[in-house]
């Protein structure tokens, strides 16, 4: 057998990251110590996977239709969430949120001259009770480092190019507040019902990297470009 081109075989599963190893180790220690049971952990994991962005889309649609509700949403996001079926305070598993789901939702209302976009530069804080699990790109160092420094360039990569006159306001979710964006209701939606409006408020619109458009009901794929200096894993 020739020694030329002896590449190691492709891994059967994706590499397990250091953080996944750490999570498993801490989880197993916590179970062993009796802080929670394996059954508790299974229930919580299954619960968080039932969550998604639909309640937040409904919150936005309701706010577009009802100025009094919009005022409430901006003033007290936790209270406004109750009307779309999300109880930040009494939800499982703890009844007081979790260390990353504190009970302080702030709804950032866009105007024709201010566009909000959300990031967590320190980790990946995300309003999970009302948006579900964050998309993979939201957690990447690439998005977290660059959005706060070059927001217009990053938004352009998502296909959103904004007039220089519009103020882009980046909300960096670094403490106990979680944010969703309440975008401006687009033209061409006159006379629409709450259900029709909610359909065009995608997860990306709620993070702020997209704006709602009539007829667009899905997140756009973020283009993946090859690295300028790719890392060779086979040294």
């Amino acid at each position: 057998m020739s020694d030329e081109h002896q590449h190691p075989p492709a891994p059967m599963v994706d590499e397990v990251s250091d953080f996944e190893v750490l999570e498993a180790a801490v989880r197993e220690l916590a179970i062993e110590k009796g802080l929670f049971s394996a059954e508790d952990h299974r229930r919580w994991t299954e619960y968080v996977h039932t969550l998604g962005p639909l309640p937040a889309a409904r919150l936005v649609a309701k706010a577009w239709l009802d100025p009094a509700y919009k005022e409430l949403a901006v003033r007290d996001g936790v209270k406004a969430s109750l009307d779309v079926g999300v109880d930040w305070i009494n939800s499982p598993p703890t009844g007081f949120g979790t260390p990353s789901d504190y009970c302080n939702l702030r709804v950032l209302a866009d105007t024709p001259t201010v566009k909000h976009v959300v990031v967590c530069t320190l980790c990946s804080c995300y309003p999970r009770p009302i948006l579900g699990q964050s998309p993979e790109w939201y957690r990447t160092p690439n998005y977290r480092r660059r959005l706060v420094r070059w927001p217009r360039q990053v938004l352009a990569e998502f296909g959103l190019q904004l007039d220089p006159a519009i103020e882009i306001r980046v909300a960096d979710s670094n403490q106990k507040t979680r944010y969703i964006v309440l975008p401006v209701r687009p033209e061409g939606t006159e006379g629409w019902s709450e259900e029709q409006l909610a359909e065009i408020v995608t997860r990306d619109c709620l993070i702020g990297v997209a704006v709602p458009k009539p007829g667009v009901t899905a997140n756009t794929k973020r283009p993946v470009r090859p690295a300028v200096h790719p890392v060779d894993h086979h040294h």
Binding site: C103, N104, E167
Partner: protein, 122 residues
């Protein structure tokens, strides 16, 4: 042999049915800053743990809201919940944070939160 038992459930007992940070309401005393105040972010030591971003240190911003009361992250990381502080939302002009941010986009801003210890009046 004596063993110091740490009470792991005191936070759960305090916050259940009330919420966190709501459960610290009223514990921080009067707020030092008000909406519209100009503040500078201090460059305090941050050994072990902080949630004050390095990119904000030394920058001047404006308080948009006194948001809630809570132990500072630097304390809470060690389960020290004895002295809650007011937290503030502060908005910065991007050009204040990144000196080469283009003049064309001078309107752009960043908003983020700080516990009171990180702020000083300008």
């Amino acid at each position: 042999m004596s063993k110091i038992e740490h009470d792991r459930s005191h936070h759960a007992e305090k916050a259940t049915g009330i919420g966190d940070p709501q459960c610290f309401h009223g514990e921080a005393g009067p707020a030092k800053f008000k909406v519209g105040d100009r503040v500078r972010i201090k460059n305090l030591p941050d050994l072990f743990y902080t949630r004050c971003q390095v990119y904000t240190r030394g920058a001047i911003g404006m308080v948009t809201e006194a948001v809630y009361e809570s132990p500072a992250a630097e304390d809470e990381a060690w389960d020290n919940t004895e002295s809650p502080e007011w937290f503030y939302s502060v908005v910065f002009r991007q050009q204040e944070l990144w000196p080469d941010y283009p003049d064309l986009y001078a309107n752009d801003t960043v908003e983020t939160e700080f516990s009171e210890r990180w702020l000083e009046a300008v």
